[in-house]
């Protein structure tokens, strides 16, 4: 396929960037709009197939793993059985399938997560691992590691009138604006069922997996950058807890703890280190920590309980108004 002039060009707009994908459709990303005013995104990113044999050799980096090689401005990712990716010079994502049985969907799953994340990091953006929601033109960001319940929370908030700004990858500008990112949510089978959705009619994230994609019409999305008002760390409540403090939103005001917590919620801190972006990232995190309140969001287990609990919260202001927990409490 390489070198063919018949490759279809897919143009998209996300993270205030223009994305041009040659040959690989990216239905998860919003279409690029050609506005009459001639307004254009501030940069263009190219996504294309390449033979890794043409990629320059990289010296072994201190932060490399058997799956990742990194240098300033260059990141290589291998996903066994899926393919290889190279993200370079803050403007290009190259990919190659492991074999012809790898579907576009398989490629996209990893391209739109790690590869796009690496590219945003190369561009010096502050990238957090979480999701961003908008209400009244203002944003909150909910953070949590894999398995913390981020997507379930995002979908529950969307049902309560919030609009989705970004899922998984959240990019924040130096002046505290959250950029509209990838408007899709990935829900596990159990969560989809609990929300009353029928998994049989939803597209799986990959063939054979019981995790599903909600996109397009299924998503209420926010399309403009919004000022960030609150940062939340998701903590699932224990069902058997008798401590009322476990179910209230508590501010993390201790500077050291807040810094550590935020640093741990960066999107793939290893990428940041390996790409030599740690300095800028540190400053961006410090700035964020000074300007936006960080609080623990103790989400009840079970979707009906969570929905009921969320209805009682005012998340745009709750973080700023919350009391701090004791020094030892989470």
């Amino acid at each position: 396929m390489e070198g063919s002039s018949t490759l279809q060009r897919h143009q998209h707009h996300a993270f205030s960037l223009h994305w041009l994908s040659e040959g690989l459709p990216l239905p998860e990303l919003p279409q690029a709009q050609r506005s009459a005013s001639g307004e254009t995104a501030n940069a263009s990113i190219t996504i294309r197939e390449e033979d890794p044999q043409h990629w320059p050799e990289l010296a072994v980096g201190a932060h490399d793993t058997p799956f990742l090689q990194m240098a300033r401005g260059d990141l290589r990712l291998s996903v066994e059985g899926i393919g290889r990716f190279r993200i370079s010079n803050a403007e290009q994502i190259a990919w190659q399938r492991a074999d012809q049985n790898v579907s576009d969907q398989d490629l996209r799953t990893f391209l739109l997560g790690s590869a796009v994340g690496a590219l945003l990091i190369q561009r010096g953006m502050l990238v957090l691992h979480g999701n961003a929601l908008e209400r009244d033109g203002q944003a909150i960001v909910c953070l949590g590691h894999s398995g913390a319940g981020k997507s379930t929370l995002a979908y529950a908030l969307m049902q309560q009138g919030w609009r989705l700004l970004a899922d998984d990858l959240v990019a924040i500008t130096p002046d505290g604006q959250v950029l509209p990112g990838i408007p899709r949510i990935k829900l596990w089978y159990d969560a989809a069922r609990a929300f009353g959705l029928d998994p049989d009619v939803l597209p799986p994230i990959r063939q054979g997996m019981q995790k599903y994609l909600l996109l397009g019409e299924a998503i209420e999305r926010a399309e403009q950058p919004c000022p960030l008002r609150a940062l939340y760390l998701i903590r699932q409540q224990r069902r058997d807890s008798n401590d009322p403090d476990d179910s209230r939103i508590s501010r993390i005001s201790n500077q050291k703890r807040a810094a550590l917590a935020l640093r741990n919620q960066a999107f793939r801190p290893r990428f940041v280190r390996g790409l030599g972006q740690e300095g800028g990232n540190f400053i961006a995190l410090a700035r964020l920590q000074q300007s936006v309140p960080l609080a623990v969001l103790p989400t009840p287990r079970g979707i009906p309980d969570m929905q009921e609990w969320l209805q009682e919260q005012s998340l745009l202001s709750a973080a700023a108004q919350a009391r701090s927990a004791g020094e030892d409490a989470e």
Binding site: T65, F67, G147, D190, R239, R270
Partner: protein, 309 residues
């Protein structure tokens, strides 16, 4: 990447004394002044962030998604269990960024899984050895029933199930990946028979009956100080009654699941023989006969006082 830092595994079927060993290691290192207060605090803070072992500072569980995501550079939940088991063994050791005390990793996986194509499910490069802790499966059944709030019958079936795994659902997320175990015997053999890592086999029953000798063996295997007075103090400070009292005092141990009254519950051995019915005991003995012999547990043929390993 070259792993210069040594590390070890504490491998066991669940509810077999893994946590007890890790509490002992933390205490021994503390008594021997191996870790500064700051290093331990930093390590515990790190662990706390992972929400795994709030009271321990030994190193995270090998099935931690957080660690795998970091190593793989992707969201591990975008891979199927089968795809994941093929690559888990190639992940690098989680480097002890803050303290040496993070060098002892808990693992409940069998050494290889049905899906790992013969490859180890855990990384072995740079690993110095595996402490394999075994406990009589009848006692494991009783302990599992309290931990998971399952009836005993279900626990016995779980021990006998060739497909048994922890976190096996492919329908929801979680902070750990699936851990294939198979039957209790499959689990024990997978670790004892592997050729990649030196093994120290410890029996829970012996840790209870002869703590000084057995914990000295543990310390020696892990290159930790093992002089008698240190071991005696660490053993006393981590005795079952002490841990239980601490759990009460602190209002619960982090690894205790919802619905489980306490993590450090009884610690006795022999409860299985009191609580399982004869048929269930016979089922275990029949299915695990060769493993019982190997571990020195009495079988129908050898009924009598327990031999030691």
């Amino acid at each position: 990447m070259i792993n210069l830092e040594p590390y070890w595994y504490l491998a066991s079927y669940p509810k077999s004394g893994n946590t007890w060993c890790r509490v002992f290691i933390t205490e021994l290192r503390r008594l021997a002044n191996l870790d500064s207060a700051e290093a331990t605090a930093a390590a515990q803070q790190e662990e706390q962030e992972l929400r795994l072992n709030r009271d321990l500072a030994t190193g995270s569980i090998v099935s931690s998604r957080h660690w795998l995501d970091d190593q793989l550079g992707i969201d591990s939940s975008d891979l199927s269990w089968a795809e994941l088991d093929k690559v888990r063994g190639r992940a690098g050791h989680q480097r002890a960024l803050y303290a040496e005390c993070l060098r002892y990793h808990k693992v409940h996986d069998a050494f290889v899984s049905r899906d790992s194509a013969g490859r180890p499910v855990v990384p072995v490069e740079g690993c110095r050895g595996a402490v394999v802790v075994v406990r009589h499966p009848a006692d494991v059944a009783v302990s599992l029933s309290h931990f998971f709030s399952w009836p005993l019958e279900r626990c016995v079936a779980f021990l006998l199930n060739e497909e048994a795994a922890l976190c096996r659902s492919g329908r929801r997320g979680g902070q750990q990946v699936r851990q294939f175990m198979g039957t209790w015997a499959n689990h024990v053999h997978s670790w004892l028979d592997q050729q990649h890592l030196p093994v120290l086999l410890l029996r829970y029953e012996d840790l209870l009956a002869h703590p000084h000798t057995q914990f000295s063996r543990l310390a020696g295997f892990l290159d930790l100080p093992s002089d008698a007075s240190l071991i005696a103090e660490a053993v006393a400070n981590t005795s079952f009654s002490t841990l239980r009292a601490k759990e009460d005092e602190e209002g619960g141990f982090r690894e205790r699941p919802d619905g489980c009254d306490r993590f450090f519950r009884s610690g006795r051995s022999g409860e299985g023989r009191e609580q399982l019915n004869l048929e269930q005991l016979a089922q275990l003995e029949k299915a695990f006969d060769s493993t019982f012999r190997r571990c020195g547990y009495p079988t129908a043929a050898t009924a009598g006082p327990e031999a030691t390993c």
